[in-house]
Amino acid sequence: MTALHVKKTLIIIAAVLFASVSCSSKKAVKYTRDTLPPKANIAVIIDVPNNLKNVVLAKFLEKGFSVKAMNASDMYSMSEIFDIKDMKRLSYSSSADNSLLSMEKTYNNIYKLHIYDFEINKAQLLSEIKSKWDVDYLVLMDLKDWKSVSWARIINLKNYEVMWLENYPTGYKDNVETIMDHFINSMTASK
């Protein structure tokens, strides 16, 4: 076998490997514990420009869902997370012994407790949304272009459980409308 042949074979192997890795990372997955009932009261969280947000809203309304709330971006305020970096600077500039072993543990614990707190705050907010706005299901969506994976997830606010999810590799011919049609059909289709 000549050096050229070896090179060609290696390139082909590399291409096949690359393709297989790309495919595996863009694998379509779908899980349905419960389907979204007709005329359900939903809140939609999606991060897209307003014109596309209208398309998403129209698609849900067209299918008979009662869209109680819709956010252009995430509905939880990330600014409420305390900036721990500031605390670190404050501590280091303090008169406390910089070599103390407990410093690392203290920082770690602060980070952890803030993440736990953040999750608790979000759950409390969801409970409030459910009771005040009569929302039963939270729909999270991220619509992507061709070669990427669009994904969606539904949270049942009665039990805080993920009741449906799907990763959908966006096709060449897909647009916002076709992806929305796909997702709505999928989330309402029986198991």
Binding site: V21, S102, I115, I155
Partner: protein
């Protein structure tokens, strides 16, 4: 952590390669302090560590140092092996006895002839301490108890760094904290659901997550009442200097720092208990297990910690879960959920 990993991998390689005595790691066994007020049990303080040492020595090629031998090494410093140690005293003591690992603990006889054993494992130079507890029958099953605890130690020192007290039953509801979001988080959720588990909406109720590769690393260290893997705190090094020279602003600042250390370090077990209780209540007590999974940036390796939310105990530690991406690692986690620790004693 890399250093710890290197030592553990070396140790695991040595443990499983019989005959390479020259590279054998040394494990020192301190006393298991009698934590009851009954002096009749004091004889067990030495019997237990000697039994653990013999049990490990019988299976793997390690050099074990028993309490009497530790005392011989400490003679030149004119000190004796103590019955118990504060965690911050261990690193200094390790330098004196010059071994790779130090294992010590305590026991408490319980009603109905049971005994609680609490064991701590310290690896030289790591500044981390792993503590776990186990309950067994005092007389009839004492050797089984020794075998079980030895098995926990061996699993922990294996490359997987695995510790597990129970399996996760199917249909349990899992809350997950991880450094994944969006499509990747869906992939992980999917694999767990295929294993028959239900997923709590924790973290999955946002498009984006604040938990990145750096933050998730903080969750590697977990304290719980019965089992913990935590950083050693040296209280002696905390100084809040004050005097007549210090004005009110300084005092206020020092007080704030003091409160911070009390809340987030010294009294952290109480603080954490409070927040986990609040978390359970907020999610209407529906979460069975809190699973914390940290992925490397390239998603080829992961570690996990799992807390049983019913008793808030750390029940599963595992490192070095490998795969070609999130999906295979997720599938591997599911497969491990139903397994228990290896039992090398069955093959003796």
């Amino acid at each position: 952590m890399d250093r710890i990993k290197k030592i553990l991998i070396t140790l695991a390689a040595v443990l499983f390669t019989a005959g390479s005595a020259s590279a054998s790691p040394t494990m020192a066994f301190g006393y298991l302090a009698n934590d009851s007020k009954n002096p009749d049990y004091e004889y067990l303080e030495t019997i237990f560590p000697n039994s653990f040492a013999n049990s490990i020595k019988n299976i793997f090629d390690v050099r074990v140092i028993k309490p009497t031998q530790i005392n011989q090494r400490l003679e030149k410093y004119k000190i004796e092996l103590a019955r118990s140690y504060k965690t911050y005293e261990i690193p200094e003591m390790m330098e004196k006895i010059n071994t790779d690992f130090f294992i010590y603990g305590k026991f408490v006889p319980l009603p109905q002839n049971n005994i609680l054993i609490v064991l701590s494992l310290y690896q030289r130079g790591s500044n981390m301490i792993f503590t776990f507890s186990n309950v067994g029958k005092m007389e009839s099953e004492i050797f089984r108890l020794v075998d079980r605890i030895t098995q926990i130690l061996i699993s922990l020192l294996d490359v997987d760094e695995m510790f597990k007290t129970e399996t996760l039953p199917k249909k349990s509801k899992l809350a997950i904290i991880t450094n994944l979001q969006g499509e990747e988080l869906n992939q992980l959720y999917y694999e767990l659901t295929q294993g028959g588990y239900y997923i709590s909406s924790m973290q999955g109720n946002t498009l984006y997550s604040p938990v990145n590769e750096n933050i998730i690393e903080k969750f590697k260290f977990i304290y719980s009442e019965n089992n913990s893997y935590d950083i050693i705190t040296d209280k002696r090094k905390v100084h809040f200097l004050h005097g007549t020279w210090s004005g009110e602003p300084y005092q206020e600042k020092a007080e704030k720092l003091k409160q911070m250390y009390l809340h987030y370090d010294m009294n952290y077990p109480e603080t954490k208990k409070e927040i986990l209780n609040k978390m359970s209540q907020t999610f209407n007590n529906t979460i069975d297990y809190l699973l914390i999974v940290g992925f490397t940036r390239n998603r080829k390796r992961a570690w996990l910690r799992c807390i049983n939310m019913k008793d808030q105990n750390l029940m599963w530690i595992q490192s070095n879960i490998t795969g070609s991406g999130v999906a295979p690692i997720g599938a591997s986690i599911v497969q491990k959920m139903g397994t228990t620790l290896k039992t090398p004693f069955d093959n003796k």
